[in-house]
């Protein structure tokens, strides 16, 4: 039961600036997913919250208390590591009990908490085993259990699912979400997987090169991406980007490919001829006459759906996802780009431009 607040947290390793000032307010019980490409600073941010790394500047507050200078043990947090970090020579029980033992808790109380957590995670039968005698999924549960018994203010997860196979990952993902909801513990979850991010988070922090590119709910990030990076990172296949220029009056854009696109939600500020980037998701493009002709390069059948890669007039590439079977797709496909499906970005900065 706690809030977390980050106040322009910066981190520098020698000459390289890894975090450029992260601000974040996490509400009590909220699950925040930090998502971004590998190397963007997600783990560093999490480790600063954990106290395993010290911020170069900025503050971390848990429940309003400034913990920036505190040791990890004094922050009342629990962390689940990517490789689980279970002590190999201790049994499952000892692993889960270790932190409680060090805090001087009574053996009976330790027993009660471990049993309770083990039951919740369905690892009650494994308590006497050593980590090496467990499967990946079981280790994952034990690592969760070790966090749960602590009854901490904050759960921190650093890519805890990436060592599991695809099926188990989906299953554990749902379980982590259920567990977090049930316990209501404020959580920070780091991942590079956009599906994990979309399904787990109450809100996402999309990180890009040490900055929070966008902090918003999954649907908001998907529906109104703050810049072209976020737009391309969230969603699969990735959003298409087409070069365009602003038409006089700001009510429409002229695609390089020669088509005019009207802004259905209102005109944008900006002088005529200003460079724009127009984004449209592959699944929003439709089949039909009167739009563009797509010269098909590659057809990827997904069963009931088909992903088609191709080029349009002017040489720009376009990916289309159509709810039709792959059979019978010819060399040239007439497609329509619905106006209301477009996202408008500044052509030079990549920032989203909202209606004026």
């Amino acid at each position: 039961m706690a809030t977390l607040s980050l106040d322009s947290v910066k981190k520098q390793f020698a000459a390289t600036q890894v975090l450029h000032g992260i601000d974040l307010e996490v509400a009590d019980g909220e699950m925040i997913v930090v998502v971004g490409a590998s190397g963007c600073g997600k783990s560093t941010l999490l480790r600063i919250v954990a106290g395993l790394e010290t911020a170069t500047s900025g503050h971390v507050r848990i429940d309003g208390r400034d913990v920036t200078a505190l040791e990890p043990a004094d922050r009342d947090i629990a962390m689940v590591f990517q490789n689980y970090a279970l002590y190999p020579h201790m049994s499952v029980f000892e692993n889960m009990a270790y932190g409680l033992k060090i805090r001087g808790m009574k053996p009976a109380e330790i027993r009660r908490r471990v049993d309770e957590a083990a039951q919740m995670l369905e690892i009650g039968a494994l308590l006497e085993r050593k980590p090496r005698q467990l499967s990946g999924g079981q280790r994952q549960r034990v690592a969760m259990g070790r966090a749960v018994v602590r009854e901490p203010k904050l759960f921190l997860f650093d890519e805890p699912l990436s060592n599991l196979d695809a099926k188990l990952r989906v299953q554990m993902r749902a379980e982590i979400r259920r567990l977090q909801k049930r316990l209501g513990v404020t959580s920070l979850f780091v991942t590079h997987d956009q599906v994990e991010a979309m399904t787990l988070g109450d809100r996402l922090v999309v990180m890009h090169q040490g900055r929070a590119a966008q902090v918003a709910s999954p649907m908001e990030v998907w529906g109104r991406p703050a810049d072209t990076y976020v737009a391309s990172f969230i969603g699969s296949p990735a959003m298409n980007f087409l070069a365009a220029t602003m038409e006089p009056g700001g009510g429409a854009a002229a695609l390089k490919a020669g088509l005019a696109i009207g802004f259905t939600d209102g005109p944008r500020a900006g002088e005529a001829g200003m460079p724009l980037t127009l984004g449209i998701r592959p699944e929003h493009i439709q089949l039909g006459q009167g739009g563009l002709d797509l010269a098909v390069d590659l057809v990827e059948p997904l069963g009931s759906e088909t992903v088609i890669h191709g080029t349009i007039r002017g040489g720009e590439t376009l990916t289309v996802r159509l709810p039709i079977p792959a059979r019978g797709i010819g060399a040239v496909l007439p497609v329509i780009l619905p106006w209301d499906a477009f996202h408008i970005f500044d052509g030079s900065s990549g920032r989203r431009i909202e209606p004026a």
Binding site: L52, A73, M79, A85, P88, H89, I102, R132
Partner: protein
């Protein structure tokens, strides 16, 4: 068509089996020869310790056991043979006891010190950490033999001549063991350290609860090596100990071989040599179980 192919496959398979059998024979013969070459001197010692002094004194080299084993071992153990005009004899049990003390203290001391220094070098960042590491590393180039004169002088000044302390302490500092533990500690994932930090374990707690249990098999392996290293020490004990009650068996045995004044009691010397071999063998045999356990149960 298919029948001839089957025949051909069969023929090839049998040829492979024959070739494997022949290769195995060559391996066995080579190994047996090796064992013979290594074991022969030990055999001679064992056999020699069961004859009386005059048999060996005549220059005979018996290849089979004689009738005097029990009396030889009893007199080696209890008296160390007859005293000569110049030297008194020391019973083997005294020398073995001294050797055992020295070897155990050296092995335990070396392991304790190197565990702690490797722990400091690997898990802490403090100013001068690399300097400390390189200083330890450089002492690799200064084995006991090289620093023996200054070390001897220090021991004299400290009044540690003819003491177990003087015998053991200069042999304890060990760059090799420190390096080995350092290499091992470097393979311990950072996440264990971090998990322990979050669990609230301080450095010593982490050392005791995580590092030490993970190092058990390394410690066992090193104990064997260091025990034998200590047991076989010759030069330093020869220098620092003149009191024969503190004499180690390796040094004591060479003193049993006289300078020609009197007949050497080869039977007693051989018996002592056999006794001197037993503790290292026992350590190897006993600790081997730990090795194998450590090798088969890779934890991590």
């Amino acid at each position: 068509m298919s029948a001839t192919m089957d025949l051909e496959a069969d023929r090839l398979a049998r040829a492979t089996i024959r070739r494997n059998a022949r290769n195995r024979w060559i391996a066995y013969v080579t190994l047996s020869l090796g064992v013979l070459i290594f074991a022969f001197p030990i055999w001679l010692t064992l056999v020699g310790s069961s004859h009386d002094a005059s048999t060996i004194g005549r220059g005979d080299v018996p290849l089979w056991f004689g009738p005097h084993a029990i009396s030889n071992y009893v007199s080696a153990w209890l008296t160390g043979g007859e005293a000569t005009r110049t030297t008194r004899s020391v019973p083997a049990w005294v020398m073995l006891w001294n050797s055992l003390n020295m070897a155990v203290l050296i092995a335990v001391g070396k392991i304790a010190i190197s565990l702690l220094s490797a722990f400091a070098v690997v898990f802490f960042s403090f100013p001068g950490r690399m300097i400390a590491f390189w200083l330890i590393f450089i002492t690799l180039m200064l084995p006991v033999e090289v620093r023996i004169i200054p070390t001897f002088e220090v021991m004299v000044n400290l009044g540690l001549i003819n003491t177990m302390t003087g015998l053991v302490v200069p042999l304890i500092a060990s760059a090799t063991a420190t390096l080995l533990f350092r290499q091992f500690f470097l393979t311990i994932p950072d996440e264990y350290v971090e998990a322990a930090k979050i669990d609230g374990a301080g450095p010593l707690r982490f050392f005791k609860d995580v590092v030490l249990p993970l190092s058990v098999t390394n410690i066992a392996a090193l104990f064997v090596i260091l025990f034998i290293y200590g047991w076989n020490q010759y030069l330093w004990p020869l220098l620092i100990v003149s009191d024969r009650d503190l004499e180690t068996v390796v040094v004591g045995m060479t003193k049993m071989i006289g300078n020609g004044d009197a007949q050497n009691e080869w039977n007693i010397i051989m018996a002592t040599a056999v006794l001197a071999m037993l503790p290292p063998v026992a350590v190897v045999v006993f600790m081997q179980r730990w090795f194998v356990k450590g090798l088969t149960e890779t934890e991590k």
